[in-house]
C-alpha cells in the first residue's frame, strides 16, 4: 500500500487542533442554520443559485469537516455522503447528526483516495475542504471517478488574488507571494497546514484532463453590509468588497 502523503498527515493534525479550538463549538450554529450560505461572508445560495434543485441527488462532500453543508443539502432532499480525513471532525459531525436527527453516511478517508464505487454520485462538492487541503492532481480525478456522466463538481476556495496577497496572518494589498508558490503553500510555521491554490489556468487544465467541462467561475463580491468574520478575520470585509476573496468553480463531467 502506498504511504500517506505528507500533506494528509499534516492537515489531519491541523484540523484535529482547529476542531478543538473552533469548528467543534461552531458546528451547532452551522447545523442549526436553515439557509445555505457560502464562505466567511455568508453569500446566500438563494442569491448565487449555484445548485438549483438538489432533491433526490446523490451528493459526495469531499472534505466535509463537521458536515454542516451536507446537512443543509440533506434537508433539501439530497442524499449526501460526507468524506473527511480527520476523525475528530467526524466525531463532531456524528454528534450533530444525533442532535438534529439527520442521518447520512460519514466516511473517514482522504478525498484523494475515496473507498466508494465509480459513477455513484450526481454532485461532488467541496467548500474549503478538498478544494484547498488536497492535491488537485489527485482529488479532482477522484471526483471525476465518483461522478456519473453529466454529474457536477462544485467547489469553493480562496481566490488566487487573495492567496497572492496573504501576508503574515492577514490579506494585504501587496503581492506577498510569487506565482510559483501558489500550487503548494506551507503555512505550518504560522500554525496552519499545507494548502493547494493552483491558479485559474492550471486548475482549468486539471479539470479538463479529468474530463470536466467548465460551466462557471463565480468570483464573489462581499455584500455591502458584510462584516469581517470574528474567527476568519484574516481578510476584511473592506478588502473583499474590492477584490474576490472567494471563488466558486462549477464544472460538469462530460457524458
Amino acid at each position: 500500500m502506498a504511504s500517506t502523503p505528507e500533506h494528509v498527515e499534516v492537515n489531519r493534525a491541523h484540523w484535529t487542533r482547529s476542531n478543538a479550538e473552533f469548528t467543534d463549538a461552531d458546528a451547532e450554529d452551522k447545523w442549526a442554520r436553515e439557509e445555505i450560505v457560502w464562505g466567511s461572508f455568508e453569500w446566500p445560495e438563494s442569491e448565487l443559485r449555484i445548485f438549483g434543485d438538489v432533491a433526490g441527488l446523490d451528493v459526495v462532500e469531499l472534505g466535509c469537516g463537521t458536515a454542516y453543508f451536507s446537512a443543509w443539502l440533506a434537508r433539501r432532499g439530497a442524499r449526501p455522503v460526507g468524506i473527511d480525513v480527520t476523525p475528530a471532525q467526524l466525531d463532531t459531525a456524528r454528534r450533530m447528526q444525533a442532535r438534529h436527527g439527520l442521518d447520512f453516511q460519514l466516511v473517514e478517508a482522504s478525498a484523494e483516495d475515496v473507498p466508494l464505487p465509480d459513477a455513484s454520485f450526481d454532485l461532488a462538492l467541496s467548500e474549503f475542504g478538498a478544494s484547498i487541503w488536497c492535491d488537485p492532481e489527485r482529488w479532482i480525478p477522484e471526483a471525476a471517478r465518483l461522478l456519473r456522466p453529466g454529474g457536477r463538481l462544485v467547489f469553493a476556495r480562496g481566490s488566487t488574488i487573495e492567496q497572492l496577497c496573504f501576508g503574515e496572518e492577514r490579506v494585504t494589498e501587496r503581492l506577498e507571494h510569487d506565482w510559483s508558490e501558489l500550487e503548494r503553500m506551507d503555512f505550518r510555521s504560522e500554525g496552519g497546514g499545507i494548502e493547494f491554490h493552483p491558479p485559474v489556468g492550471v486548475t482549468l487544465g486539471v479539470l479538463r484532463r479529468a474530463g470536466f467541462e467548465l460551466l462557471a467561475l463565480h468570483e464573489l463580491l462581499a455584500p455591502p453590509e458584510a462584516e469581517t468574520h470574528p474567527h476568519y478575520d484574516f481578510v476584511t470585509a473592506d478588502w473583499a468588497r474590492r477584490w474576490p476573496s472567494v471563488e466558486i468553480w462549477d464544472a460538469r463531467k462530460q457524458a
Binding site: E173, R174, W179, E219, R242, P244
Partner: protein, 250 residues
C-alpha cells in the same frame, strides 16, 4: 471625429510599428506577446493547415502572415486603422502571402456568418475592442467547432498598473469589481475583464473553455524598451499576459 483607438494606432504605427512590420513578417517561428514566448512551447494554436482564419485587430498583419506560412488556406485581417492596413498591404505585396485585409472594427465585421475555422487576436480586439461586442462577432463568424484564441494582459497586471503611465507595481492599484474599460493618458480605450467574467461571456456565446495559459516572462528576459509598462522582473514573478482558447459548440 476619429475614434480614439484609430488616432492612437495611427500615431503608434508611424512612430513604431510600421518600421517593425517587415521584420515581424519575415519571422519563421510563431511567438506570443511581449516576452515572445514560442508557440512551440505554449501550444495555444490548433493545427491551421487548410483552415480559414480571421484575425480581429490585425494591426500590421504579421500574426496572420505566420498562420498563412503554416498552411492556413485563407487569412483575413480585420483592423479599423487605415495606416496599419497600409503597412500590412505593403508587407503582403512584398512577401506575396495573399492575405485579405478588411478595414473594420472587430465589434462589427462586414463578413459572412459561419465562414471561419479560427478567430485569432493577439493584443488586437482582445484588448482594444469591447468584449461584449467582439466575442459575439467571433461566434457569428466561426463555423460550429471553430476556435477563438486570443492573447491579452492578465487581470493581475491590470490591477497592479498605476493610473499614471508607469510600470506595473507590486501593490493592488484598483478594485477588481467593476474592472472593464480603461483609458490611459495619451492612449486609446482598452477593455480588460476578470477571469470569471471572460468565462461567463464566452459560455454565453456558445463557447466551451479549452485552455487558459497564464504567461510569465522567461527568467533571462529583459524589460522591453517599447513595452516598458511591465518590467521583466515583475513578469517573471507573476503572469503579465494570458492566452484564452475556446471552441464554439457544434
Amino acid at each position: 471625429m476619429t475614434h480614439p483607438n484609430i488616432e492612437a494606432w495611427t500615431r503608434e504605427n508611424a512612430e513604431h510599428y510600421d518600421a517593425r512590420a517587415e521584420g515581424a513578417w519575415a519571422k519563421e517561428e510563431i511567438d506570443w506577446g511581449i516576452w515572445r514566448v514560442p508557440e512551440a512551447e505554449l501550444r495555444a494554436l490548433p493545427d491551421v493547415t487548410g483552415k480559414d482564419v480571421v484575425e480581429l485587430g490585425c494591426g500590421t498583419g504579421y500574426f496572420g502572415a505566420w498562420l498563412k506560412k503554416r498552411g492556413a488556406s485563407r487569412v483575413v485581417g480585420v483592423d479599423p486603422t487605415p495606416a496599419q492596413l497600409d503597412t500590412a498591404r505593403r508587407c503582403n505585396e512584398k512577401f506575396g502571402l495573399g492575405l485579405e485585409l478588411v478595414e473594420a472594427f472587430a465589434e462589427e465585421v462586414p463578413l459572412a456568418d459561419d465562414s471561419f475555422d479560427l478567430a485569432i487576436s493577439e493584443y488586437g480586439a482582445s484588448i482594444w475592442a469591447d468584449p461584449y461586442k467582439w466575442i459575439p462577432e467571433a461566434a457569428r463568424l466561426l463555423r460550429p467547432g471553430g476556435d477563438v484564441v486570443f492573447l491579452c494582459n492578465s487581470p493581475l497586471a491590470m490591477l497592479c498598473s498605476p493610473e499614471e503611465d508607469l510600470p506595473t507595481v507590486e501593490t493592488l492599484q484598483r478594485p477588481q469589481f467593476g474592472m472593464f474599460r480603461f483609458q490611459w493618458p495619451d492612449s486609446g480605450v482598452e477593455y480588460h475583464l476578470p477571469h470569471g467574467e471572460w468565462i461567463r461571456l464566452l459560455r454565453a456565446n456558445g463557447f466551451e473553455i479549452l485552455d487558459l495559459i497564464e504567461i510569465q516572462a522567461p527568467v533571462d528576459a529583459e524589460t522591453d524598451q517599447h513595452y516598458d509598462y511591465v518590467s521583466a522582473d515583475w513578469a517573471s514573478k507573476w503572469p503579465s499576459e494570458e492566452i484564452w482558447r475556446a471552441r464554439l459548440s457544434t
